[in-house]
Subunit: 190 residues, 4 copies
Amino acid sequence: MPAPHHPRNRGPAAAADNRAAILDAARRLFARDGYRVPLSAIARAAGVGQGVLYRHFPSRLDLAYEVFEDNFAVLDQTAAQSAGPDCFALLWRQLVEYTIDSTAFVEMVLDAGDEPPARVGAERLLGLFARPLARAQAAGLADPSWTTRDVLLLQHMVYGVIAASPVGADVRAGVRRAVELIDPRLAEAL
Amino acid sequence: MPAPHHPRNRGPAAAADNRAAILDAARRLFARDGYRVPLSAIARAAGVGQGVLYRHFPSRLDLAYEVFEDNFAVLDQTAAQSAGPDCFALLWRQLVEYTIDSTAFVEMVLDAGDEPPARVGAERLLGLFARPLARAQAAGLADPSWTTRDVLLLQHMVYGVIAASPVGADVRAGVRRAVELIDPRLAEAL
Amino acid sequence: MPAPHHPRNRGPAAAADNRAAILDAARRLFARDGYRVPLSAIARAAGVGQGVLYRHFPSRLDLAYEVFEDNFAVLDQTAAQSAGPDCFALLWRQLVEYTIDSTAFVEMVLDAGDEPPARVGAERLLGLFARPLARAQAAGLADPSWTTRDVLLLQHMVYGVIAASPVGADVRAGVRRAVELIDPRLAEAL
Amino acid sequence: MPAPHHPRNRGPAAAADNRAAILDAARRLFARDGYRVPLSAIARAAGVGQGVLYRHFPSRLDLAYEVFEDNFAVLDQTAAQSAGPDCFALLWRQLVEYTIDSTAFVEMVLDAGDEPPARVGAERLLGLFARPLARAQAAGLADPSWTTRDVLLLQHMVYGVIAASPVGADVRAGVRRAVELIDPRLAEAL
DNA sequence: AATGAATGAGGTTTCATTCAT
DNA sequence: TATGAATGAAACCTCATTCAT
């Protein structure tokens, strides 16, 4: 038995692993049980004590933000790698995917309320979409009247559709139709 | 002992009054403190015992549904009184207003999750909008491709914008712009 | 078996009993374990749920104050019944007794800190001692320079001696000697 | 790898520095936040790990005792340097000052409870005051009935006054009046 | 010898729900 | 039928203490 089942207190070296395990557990539980899932459940699922969770993430929002931070990282990469007019569509598609997958994201945003908006990523998204949107507009692939802030609104509208979807419903179909109502080009990207 | 010290139990006659008082208190507290307000607070504000609240509304959702039921009543009235092509715009405007005013509504919908969707009024809205939408479409006041189910989607999109609005933000402006992105005619109605 | 061992939820009728049981338990545990004893321990000892404790006494200070309220009641009685010059000595003796018995009282006072002073009884003691002190002074049984506020200081000095007494020490002897250092007449009363 | 990234472990030489830093931090935090301040806060303020704190001071009481040890050192010096009948007054003044400044001292004494009394310095104080008290008594500067143990009682009485002082109160004035009640000569020394 | 992360017990507090009266 | 106290299961958060590195 080379791997002991309950290695108590693996020391500071475990910090990075623990952090990753917490983020992983949080991602899963946020997705399964919603943003309000007990932090103790996350700690348990991650196999760490509650104190560790508090050390790494002093508040629920800190944790949630980090969970979604990964998403931003991928979006950043997409924005950096794709310089053509399609970049906007790619980003939009990914953003919608993340929004669908992380319904907890909606609740986090709801809950964040009076927190600095940058915390919940709005500003990051704005920066992310600015140039791709301009390029898409120049190429006639996006409505010329849209601002980057409108892209946020679009995402929020997608939120709404997802959030209001009954559990068994086909979320993707609903989102697609909703986006279609706004602009067929947006729906095509999905 | 002819004069009870605490004339508490006013008998069955009080039931209707209590019900109304609870609904009224719930409406206020949902608006002020959000959907998650303690039920005991609602009971207290209504001046009734907690048991009464449970008698009338076995669950928070039952209570919330009834609270918003009144909104539907007004919408019903609007639908009944206005037979012209403008009816759709009137209904839409009212629906958006209710959605904005009752942010708790958003949370309720989020929370309802796996409850029968009809519970949260979707079916009622469908029935409500069916004929007015048709009339508006016939008069060129609404996109001919829209179905009544699309109207629900539209409302959900408005949900999203409201839900994602930071605390101090101008919710109405955001909603208006969002609706504008979909169709200028919808925005005009607001 | 006429008396079930664990009668769960005895209903509102139990409120008064519960309140008394909580106060009783608190008095015992404060005396045994100090002011910082866990509230949950008090609830357990009283045989009630934690919620009940919170309903009756929203804060530790509320509970402590009520526990010591009884003491004041007895002092009030003494002050009311004894109109002679000995009244001061009687009150002083009782006050010292209570102070000795309730070391938690010291800690409560320590902990109260910035709470309204009336809460922790200082003002009550002032009012209680005013007239008896005057009578005792008139009869030459108390130092004429003492004010009622000085009586509080005297009590606090007794606090200090009690608080600093090692566990096994003869608290009473220490207090007596301390009081003797101040004024033999005060010590005689003990 | 000649240049370690984190020059953390400075080796045995750091032990003395660490000890001093911990004592310094403890003195400040005890004064600012009270005796119950988290040990982790002290470690942090001292810039050391928590383990180091435990190595040097196995318990909070050990730490507190050492913190106040310095006070004793000064008292020792006073006792050694002043051979006249005023020595008692000087020592008394210093003792009262330390007691006022370190309200945490009061709490420590309260908390020590069942620890060996010598730990909290009683015995040291006894030894310290023995000869100065005798000299003061011989010179008529102190009550001839006082024993050195009475001096401890006097200090405890001062404790009580300090401990019972409301947060905003003028502690010094209270202490002065209290001491005056005992003996004007003691108050003069302050 | 120092670090500082991990542990986990334990305290406080809050409510949804029940139920004696 | 109404009352509102009682229940008790969590949830949150905080440290004292340990221990791998």
